[in-house]
């Protein structure tokens, strides 16, 4: 074939042949006509012109296309889903395993923290199941467990027992796990959730909050860590074997996937706030299993019941969910699957299922026939756990603030918005909130006047601490511990700002300077203001007017734009010009805005 570029065939020929070309735009299979065209260096398909489309435009176009697509299908999908959900009601029960924050393991004195990355170092003889090794209950592990039970409003049992749950697995060296099957140490608790915790309005049913019952909390051992290598080899690390866990079992009071995720989130927050469990789900310190069943609204399902809640459908268990999103997605998928089966006339089997990230359906792990017979029996090596009532009362009275209490207190005292309050109490392990409260008190003291509204100060300080300070930390890539601004210094800056000795811009600069100065070369805020001549020297009205007139003369087009085209937004541009051209610490943006408003709007 000669190296000649193909010419487009004449229009008449193209039209006639357009019926033959495939609708998907693929190059048609060589046929006699096309071969004839080819031999004359003609083509009916226009050669694609390779144009470089800017990436931003391409992404925007893609997003637009997706939205249009979603709109065209979106009309039908949610409608179909809603009608199914109107007919079928979901019920979920959740079991959470959380690692306790302790120094040693549950039944041996091997350390529970810090490996320096080396495997199989924190292993006592009982953890490795050496023959003859005996378990010894480590009493210090009781404290975080009790705090967790008290925080979740459970009744602590004076006497509880230890039971063996037998099964063979390479991560369970003893051949049984020591747990509290017959007599757990805490029962009958409750967890309260509000709309702000992520509960959908449909579940709230007009109430302020919903209550999820906690059936029991029990202490048990963790298994060893296994890693899978190649086809069927497993590497075992017994450092984690025997680590104390608490298992929190809720009653089947949850009726939507969002609420289920909210329950897990709330429990993690509560446990963290009382220092009971400090490793989160993302680090593997908290794992959730969910039990899912559906029933037709208004019926009794298959008549199954669990722990006093009756009239439920057959449930299936989804094991080992390791993130909040996974909890929600897995429940949605399982609900869909169960409704499909039931609507097709089938029966749900009580099986154990698994979920992997990114999947669309749960996978079957174990059926009813594969159910393990655990042969629970009391452990004869361990005495019963007897908990003194005085200890429980002491822990209850010294329990740290729960997250909902903190958020409420912070909102009432300092007037923070709900979003800000929830953000600040969680930052830096609570240290940022501590800093904020100290700063607020310092500001109040320095201002001296008691007529200043604490809410006003609270808003000012919280904005600076969450947004300004937070932003500076990100840009300078510091973490909170190495930040060396003291509450007193921040209070100084904010007091000056409040008294209009400096502008907001100057205040930000000061803060940035303070963060970057090492502790040794520190001078006080007052000194910094004086040295940098940053004190606000307010301009008089005439000076403002003169300055504004000058800028307006320099930029007649902008003036025209505002006056005649009515582009009010450009006024801020003028303000920005004045701030930039003016001397540091002289121009106040609010005042400049007023002046420009008067001058420009003629």
């Amino acid at each position: 074939m000669s190296n000649v570029t193909l010419r487009l065939a004449p229009a008449t020929l193209t039209r006639g042949l357009s019926r033959i070309t495939s609708p998907t735009g693929r190059i048609p299979r060589p046929c006699i006509v096309s071969k004839w065209l080819q031999s004359r260096n003609l083509t009916v398909v226009a050669a694609p012109i390779q144009e470089a489309i800017p990436l931003r435009k391409h992404l925007k176009d893609e997003a637009k296309r997706k939205r249009a697509e979603a709109k065209s299908n979106g009309g039908t999908k949610p409608h179909a889903k809603d009608s199914r959900l109107k007919k079928w009601e979901l019920t979920v029960g959740i079991e959470i395993h959380a690692e306790l924050n302790t120094a040693c393991k549950l039944f041996s004195s091997a350390s529970a923290e810090g490996t320096d990355g080396v495997a199989n170092t924190r292993v006592a003889s009982f953890d490795a199941a050496l023959p003859g090794a005996q378990p010894h209950f480590q009493v210090a592990t009781l404290l975080p467990a009790l705090r967790a039970a008290i925080a979740l409003d459970c009744k602590v049992q004076g006497k509880s027992g230890w039971d063996r749950k037998h099964y063979f697995h390479w991560d369970q060296p003893n051949g049984y796990q020591i747990t509290q099957y017959y007599e757990p140490f805490a029962k009958d608790g409750v967890l309260r959730l509000h709309a702000s915790d992520g509960v959908p309005l449909a579940d709230l049913n007009g109430a302020e909050s919903i209550e999820i019952g906690i059936k029991q909390i029990q202490m048990e051992q963790d298994t060893a860590k296994t890693t899978h290598h190649r086809p069927s080899t497993y590497h075992i690390d017994y450092s984690r074997a025997g680590h104390p866990l608490i298992e929190i079992i809720t009653l089947p009071h949850v009726h939507s996937p969002q609420t289920a995720a909210a329950v897990v989130r709330k429990i993690q927050m509560v446990l963290r706030s009382v220092d009971a469990c400090v490793t989160g789900m993302e680090l593997g310190g908290l794992r959730a299993d969910v039990n899912v069943s559906v029933r037709e609204r208004g019926t009794e399902g298959t008549g199954s019941s669990y722990s006093g809640v009756s009239g439920l459908g057959q449930r299936t268990e989804i094991k080992n969910l390791s993130s909040f999103k996974a909890v929600e997605d897995a429940i949605v998928a399982e609900r869909g699957r169960q409704i499909d089966v039931l609507e097709a006339g089938g029966v749900i089997e009580g099986e154990t299922r698994g979920w992997t990230l990114g999947a669309t359906e749960t996978t079957r792990l174990r059926g009813k026939e594969g159910e393990v017979d655990y042969r629970y029996m009391p452990d004869a090596d361990l005495p019963p756990l007897v908990i003194g009532q005085d200890l429980v009362e002491h822990l209850r009275s010294t329990l740290p603030e729960l997250p909902s209490e903190t958020v409420e207190r912070v909102r009432n005292l300092y007037g923070l918005s709900l979003k800000d309050a929830k953000t600040v109490f969680d930052l830096d392990d609570g240290d940022r909130l501590e800093f904020m409260e100290e700063t607020i008190e310092s500001v109040q003291r320095k201002l001296g006047r008691t007529d200043i509204d604490q809410l006003e100060i609270g808003k000012l300080v919280s904005n600076w601490i969450i947004h300004e300070l937070g932003g500076l930390l990100t840009t300078t890539e510091l973490n909170w511990e190495s930040m060396n601004v003291t509450p007193g210094e921040l209070a100084d800056v904010l007091v000056n700002l409040h008294n209009k000795h400096i502008t907001a811009r100057v205040a930000k600069q000061l803060l940035s300077t303070l963060i970057e100065t090492p502790a040794s070369a520190r001078s006080s805020v007052e000194q910094l203001i004086d040295d940098g001549k940053l004190r606000l020297r307010p301009l008089s009205e005439e000076q403002y007017q003169a300055f504004a007139a000058q800028i307006m003369d320099d930029n007649p087009e902008m003036v025209v734009a505002v006056r005649e085209k009515g582009q009010k937004g450009k006024i801020m541009w003028f303000v920005g010009q004045m701030v930039r051209r003016g001397e540091e610490g002289t121009v106040e943006p609010e005042k400049a805005r007023e002046v420009f408003d008067k001058l420009l709007v003629v």
Binding site: S109, E113, S125
Partner: protein, 199 residues
């Protein structure tokens, strides 16, 4: 009637009360032979066994009193105990017959009336003082409570002091041993398990 020693009175009372237990046991006689001084001839008493373990097993021609065990149940039990399955039908038949004799014995034990009796889990001090000693109250938890600090003044939180916060690094009671010393197979610092079909 001459009064019998207390132990003997209690023992016979028990054997009379649990009449059905050990039904094939030869009942011991109420009266032990004594000489004129009232002493027991110990040698004569101990020369004749009054009870044999054979009484717990079914007699040669007797049908075992326990429930029928199916082959499926046998295999389930073997799996639960991680014992190997029987090699052939003969071994399985032998296992089943041993198992049913053992269950005959268990059935005898189950004849004991245990209404209202809490199963014994282990021998422990169940007196009031014993339970008091075992109770974990403020006194017992003093040391653990001392390992925590309160952090913050305005927003008070409890934090356990971790190693490196001034806490003594040595927590193990001198357990200096290499866990991997017991490993049959290992790779680096890990135990190795072959999880294949046979593993």
């Amino acid at each position: 009637m001459r009064s019998r020693p207390l132990a003997l009175r209690v023992w016979t009372a028990q054997t009379n009360a649990h009449r059905r237990a050990f039904a094939t046991t030869v009942r011991c006689r109420d009266v032990t032979e004594r000489d004129s001084k009232g002493n027991i001839d110990v040698g004569k008493l101990l020369s004749q066994p009054t009870w044999s373990v054979a009484s717990l097993l079914p007699a040669k021609d007797q049908q075992p009193g326990g429930p029928e065990i199916s082959s499926k149940q046998l295999h389930h039990l073997l799996r639960l105990s991680a014992l190997p399955a029987p090699k052939d039908a003969a071994e399985e038949a032998a296992m089943l017959s041993t198992l049913s004799s053992q269950l005959h014995f268990v059935k005898d034990i189950q004849q004991v009336d245990t209404t209202g009796v809490e199963p014994l889990r282990s021998l422990r001090d169940e007196t009031a003082e014993g339970e008091q000693e075992a109770e974990l109250g403020m006194e017992a938890m003093k040391e653990a409570l001392g390992m925590e600090t309160v952090r913050g003044r305005y927003h008070q939180r409890i934090r356990r002091r971790r190693r490196g916060d001034g806490v003594d690094g040595e927590s193990e009671e001198g357990e200096k041993w290499d866990p991997l010393g017991t490993a049959g197979k290992k790779v680096g610092r890990f135990f190795v398990v072959e999880g294949g079909k046979d593993g």
